[in-house]
Symmetry: C2
Subunit: 338 residues, 2 copies
């Protein structure tokens, strides 16, 4: 029997997922079928027996493009979540950095309705990890979110499955490719505004780059990682947070001359007294720090493990296909549990 | 019920394991007990109900030191492997780089006798991965060897558990801390013989450093990784292999001035026609390569994943406690399957 997927959000990531399932021969009976899709802009589609993959692949991006596929319409994401023709909700909609909504409520509703949930959206995980994980446990369903941190680079999976018997007492990480790219350009003498403009022209930075350069995007990821590692319930806005807009090319160049590099670092640690510290800010790292040489849009995290010491994982931090792969890896995990 | 461990080899690694099990509260009923130990030099000990951990911890390193603990003697490792009081053989003896023996035969015998096998010894894995994995499958036992590559850094576990749905088409890696340390010293102008002498005085290099500096140690690890990733049965001596003794400080310094660094790289890849290539040799890497900044005795591997691209894992490549942790992680995996 195929796992029946309901996609919420039909932008680059979930479109890449459709292609990935097809190219891997995982689309169809025995593997995965897509029975429902809802997107704020592209509209919705439904087929209890599985929507034709080719039709989804070729769907345009114009308003209500999905409506050409099927008669049935969902009024919103919540309507889709209630469908009895869906086993797994794949949530890849827009991140709301203030509250995680409406994705947070949607994920809760989906778990409540007895669906597995896979999300690449930082919002619901940063604001609701404890809550949603607890609910998933009660419902005996999976709540998985590998794509919420460093896209498909297997960071969360490593923390969960690959360090049995080790205690991770903290981490330091480069979790935003945009700011990392800008910092590298400033080391070559470019001013902050020029480097930002270049990042925007290359598609690395959004029209409103505030969340990337002032640390708010990193704070969401630090909250996710800290809460996953420490079992805490830290909220993103409780994390002391600053960005890179105060740095100048002169500072970046001077650091290089001293054998150091400025990086925007998100970090958290477990203190001796059992409390926790989490923060985001620009830091000078020694050249020999494994994070110092992480370039461009690549991301990286150093896990401080006891015993073992520092273990660093570097990989893509974003990207349509890379994030779609994160979903695929979560879906295969769910399939393997069934 | 406790899993009953039989330790083969009682040097630094298995002694560190004894301490680690105790400090983690995993020594005793419900967790792990050690019923049998055999070491070529320290002799042997046995207690069907579990040897006292404190007695093992305080055992000296002199000849036959273990004989103070119990009456029962094993004549050799094979004798221990046959014991009906052992569920898991923990093999951490000396690596024979020519044939993997006698550890290879011991592991085979242990699996044949229906024991799980955990080893940190590169020999049996490099020469017998396909054979031993097949046997373990037939016997429905685990054959685990996280510690054979990069000590406890979870490289093999990541390959096995953390990249579902991805194809790893190749890897490039720094797998020998001794040669990596020497290369760094040569970048500071030290001659090869002086750098080697310094590595020896710090305990990073053996009295006979040939296997470390001429690539044979790396070739064992490349065979393990390639065979695990590609399902091949490549033998270490089939891998084209050269080392770092031909490099000079002048070459190391000139590379740095060009924004590059010499590294001893082990690599393998799957080619388009389905064949495989594996080799070991010194290479100049661009500064921006994540492996270029891997310093001292740290090891690292870049996995070339489809989709996803390069994912790099850096961590300790050796060490008593780090390797003992690898055993612990394998033991916890076995315990979780039971």
């Amino acid at each position: 029997v195929a796992l029946r997927l309901g996609l919420i959000g039909f932008g680059g990531v979930n479109r890449a997922l459709v292609d990935l399932l097809q190219s891997r021969g995982l689309s169809g009976n025995g593997e995965f079928i897509i029975t429902a899709v809802y997107d704020l802009r592209s509209g919705s589609a439904f087929d209890r027996n599985g929507i034709d993959f080719a039709a989804l692949s070729s769907a345009g991006t114009e308003s209500d493009a999905l409506h050409a596929i099927s008669e049935h319409r969902f009024t919103d994401g919540g309507d889709l979540v209630g469908s009895d023709a869906v086993d797994v909700i794949v949530e890849a909609s827009y991140t709301n950095a203030e509250s995680g909504e409406p994705a947070l409520s949607l994920c809760r509703r989906a778990l409540d309705a007895g669906k597995h949930v896979v999300t690449t959206n930082k919002g619901p995980v940063a604001f609701g990890l404890r809550d949603l994980t607890g609910l998933a446990k009660v419902k005996r369903k999976d709540f998985l979110f590998e794509g919420a941190v460093m896209s498909g680079t297997p960071v969360l999976r490593t923390i969960r499955n690959c360090l049995p018997g080790a205690r991770v007492n903290g981490f330091r990480a480069i979790l935003n490719g945009t700011s990392n790219y800008i910092l590298a350009r400033m080391e070559s003498g470019q001013s902050f505004p020029d480097a930002l403009k270049e990042a925007q022209s290359k598609g690395y930075a959004e029209a409103d780059p505030t969340a990337d350069i002032e640390g708010a995007d990193v704070a969401l990821k630090v909250a996710i990682l800290a809460n996953l590692l420490f079992g805490t319930d830290i909220r993103p806005h409780e994390i002391s947070c600053s960005g890179i807009s105060g740095l100048t090319p002169e500072m970046a160049i001077a650091a290089r001359e001293d054998g150091m590099r400025w990086k925007l670092i998100g970090q958290a640690s477990r203190l001796e007294d059992g409390s926790y510290r989490a923060q985001v800010g620009a830091m000078k790292l020694m050249d020999r720090d494994p994070l110092a040489s992480v370039n461009g849009v690549t991301n990286a995290i150093t896990l401080l493990c006891d015993p073992l010491g520092p273990v660093t994982i570097c990989g893509p931090g974003a990207g349509r296909v890379e994030t779609a792969y994160a979903i695929l890896s979560d879906l295969l995990d769910i399939a393997s549990h069934i």
